[in-house]
């Protein structure tokens, strides 16, 4: 019911530019997640949409209406804060009712709205309690309820789960996903630094870095087709391994000779004349497997982390470079100190030149993204 259009949005404090050239179209009913490292400006961008920060440049439209100078309460938005920001002197019901009271709604209307929100968020038994008598998860639900009763066109979430403990975070994440499902026409913008939240909740993820947008796309698209080394490293855990090498053969598939001695065939096309180009071969830890045949990487395991469902193998932890990590499914006891040969499928590897992915080279027409199905081989 509400689409957002951010055109050339910029934010500066004095001479310091925090954000610049932000162009983003959010369509009605979408769940958009802003992710990025601390200080990338993702919260600032959200607060600019909310109206809590002045927009230094560019325009923000909601439903085609310019919002730059419209006060926050008239933008049709509601925001959930990281710290919950509940009014400590008001009961749960009054917290949720505050906006409606200000808006001059009738007493019955307010009662109905708060009852409904209370029921939806399982807060009915707590409606007459003060926030201090609630647990962290309940407080966060009240904060969501406060947004809910106003029935806004756009929901803004500013790291809503980061003050919760791990178990509660998962539970509340699922609640938010269900909430979104029950309101398919409401637009949601969600800021987080947690990539699990981003991957599970988002229709599209916006990766912010260095004051700009690095890449926008569906979660799996960012995972499988990162536009540059930053996105490649940011999405996925542990981060993608980057192995330096040189292109030796070009064509529909590219052959790369790695500085570490291995060789790899990658399902990314290169052109004549690319031979000898220095590249970084990107391969995710979970895409690597043990092999007896030609190896991409061979090394002595310095450290293992057995997590049960997977085992992480670390290579080169003593070196000054980033260690290479492989994630093997299942339990692999006694791998410490062993020399292991690893390979990966050609379509599971990435090539970066000067930090940028070769997939997105100028003049290349990328087919629309289709998720790679895991059981293909």
């Amino acid at each position: 019911m509400a689409d957002l259009k951010l055109a050339d949005i910029a934010k500066s404090y004095g001479d310091v530019n925090v954000l610049k050239n932000i162009d983003l179209d959010i369509s009605s009913g979408e769940f958009i997640v802003f992710v990025g490292p601390s200080g990338c400006g993702k919260s600032t961008l959200l607060r600019m949409i909310a109206g809590l920060e002045q927009i230094s440049g560019g325009t923000l439209d909601i439903d085609g209406q310019r919002m730059n100078d419209i006060p926050p309460s008239q933008r049709g938005i509601a925001m959930v804060f990281q710290s919950y920001a509940l009014y400590p002197h008001m009961t749960v019901r009054d917290n949720m009712a505050f906006a409606l009271k200000i808006a001059g709604k009738s007493r019955d209307e307010i009662r109905d709205a708060t009852d409904r929100a209370g029921k939806m968020l399982q807060l009915t038994p707590y409606l007459d309690r003060l926030p201090k008598a609630l647990s962290g998860g309940q407080r966060q639900r009240v904060a969501i309820g406060r947004a809910l009763v106003r029935d806004p066109k756009v929901y803004l979430f500013d790291e809503p789960l980061s003050n919760l403990d791990a178990a509660l975070r998962v539970a509340t994440r699922i609640e938010i996903a269900q909430l979104k499902e029950s309101m398919p026409d409401r637009t949601m913008v969600y800021v987080t630094h947690d990539q699990t939240e981003a991957m599970t909740l988002a229709d599209r993820i916006v990766v912010l870095a260095g004051g700009g947008i690095a890449q926008v796309g569906a979660p799996l698209e960012l995972y499988e087709r990162p536009i540059n080394e930053f996105v490649a490293g940011f999405i996925g855990s542990p981060a993608m391994n980057l192995l330096p090498g040189k292109v030796t053969a070009v064509g529909e598939e590219t052959t790369v000779a790695l500085a570490g001695g291995g060789e790899a065939r990658v399902a990314i096309p290169t052109r004549a004349g690319d031979e000898g180009m220095p590249v970084n071969l990107g391969v995710r830890p979970e895409d690597m497997f043990e092999t007896d045949g030609p190896a991409l990487f061979e090394g002595k395991v310095d450290l293992t982390e057995a997590l049960g469902e997977v085992t992480l193998l670390y290579f080169g932890t003593n070196a000054e470079t980033v260690p290479v990590i492989a994630k093997l499914p299942g339990i692999h006891a006694g791998y410490g100190g062993r020399t292991v040969r690893l390979a990966a499928k050609p379509e599971a590897m990435h090539l970066f030149h000067d930090g940028e992915s070769l997939l997105y080279r100028d003049g290349v027409e990328l087919p629309p993204y289709q998720p790679r199905v895991a059981s293909a081989g």
Partner: protein, 331 residues
């Protein structure tokens, strides 16, 4: 010069004595219960139970001497005749109940009690909110806080000049009468205008206490989480609604502490009245009345002490409540 050396040596002996007491008593305690050897754990526990009393000891002793003893002595005197030679029971108190000046003092004290804390807290709150929002707020704050540094007697003298009266044909040296005559009015003997003169005295204390209220409330306002204010703005609250519905309720505890602290100051008010009217023209208050009976003309220690005890009984419950509130705030 002799006096100077006397002062210096008093300070030296005092400071040295304190250090010697804390260091020495602590050392003796550690010798009796050494924190080592087989029973180290037991000894440390026992020593820790005794240590607070050693350190508190001097304070308790001197507080007892200079606070508790005078109270008991006042109580004793209030039950005796003028020079303390004969026990008279509650005669001094029954006298007070019937005395018109005592009644007037009680009435005036109640009036002070209602007006001064309310106005000081209100002005302090407004000043705190406004000075936080403007560029030259810190200068404003300093100016409002400055009267706190002036003694009540000094403030009384300053305001006596403001209310100063001269005949219409003379030059008006009082600020208030100057303004009034400029505006075409007649100069007034402000401090004799019953009952308004009471309020003219109260303004002096409001002037002093507003700075105190402002400083404490300003700190409390800054302690309010910014997100709750932002949330209220998103909820559509106007600046006034944010102030009254979000900010003020969150600092209610601090407001109560400020209010009661000023209340206690007000109940003890003496200097301002003493300097400006000395309780004439219907402005008498309890502390000044007590002073009159104690030290003016032929002293009557009995009646003076009785008034003092009444004053103490009035202050005590507010004091207890105040201390409780402060403790709650700290937690």
């Amino acid at each position: 010069m002799e006096l100077f050396w006397l002062a210096i040596s008093t300070i030296a002996i005092g400071v040295f004595g304190c250090v010697a007491w804390f260091w020495g008593s602590n050392m003796i305690l550690d010798t009796i219960y050494p924190p080592r050897g087989e029973k180290a754990g037991d000894n440390i526990r026992r020593a820790n139970q005794i240590r607070p009393w050693l350190f508190l000891g001097p304070a308790i002793l001197f507080l007892g001497l200079y606070l508790v003893y005078p109270v008991l002595d006042s109580l004793w005197r209030s039950l005796h005749n003028a020079d303390g030679s004969r026990f008279v029971g509650v005669d001094n108190y029954t006298w007070a109940v019937g005395d018109s000046k005592f009644g007037e003092s009680m009435r005036n004290n109640m009036l002070w009690l209602l007006v001064v804390p309310a106005l000081s807290t209100l002005f302090g709150l407004i000043a705190a909110q406004l000075t936080d929002r403007i560029k030259w707020g810190n200068i404003g704050k300093s100016l409002i806080f400055m009267p706190m540094a002036i003694s009540f007697v000094g403030a009384g003298v300053i305001w006596k000049f403001i209310y100063e009266y001269r005949d219409a044909d003379e030059t008006q040296i009082g600020l208030l009468n100057y303004l009034v005559t400029k505006l075409g009015g007649d100069s007034q003997l402000w401090l004799t205008l019953i009952p308004w003169n009471n309020f003219f005295l109260m303004i002096v204390l409001v002037w002093i206490q507003t700075g105190f209220a402002m400083v404490i409330l300003s700190a409390a306002l800054r302690g309010i989480p910014e997100e709750t204010i932002e949330a209220a703005i998103l909820d559509g609250a106007s600046p006034l609604q944010v102030f009254f519905k979000i900010k003020v309720p969150q600092i209610m505890g601090t407001i109560a502490v400020v209010w009661t602290t000023i209340t206690i100051v007000v109940l003890k008010v003496f200097d301002i009245v003493f300097v400006m009217t000395n309780g004439q023209w219907g402005t008498q208050v309890l502390a000044n009345l007590m002073y009159d009976w104690m030290f003016r003309g032929t002293p009557d220690y009995g009646r003076g002490s009785a008034i003092a005890i009444v004053l103490m009984l009035l202050v005590t419950p507010i004091m207890v409540w105040n201390i409780r509130n402060v403790r709650k705030e700290i937690r």
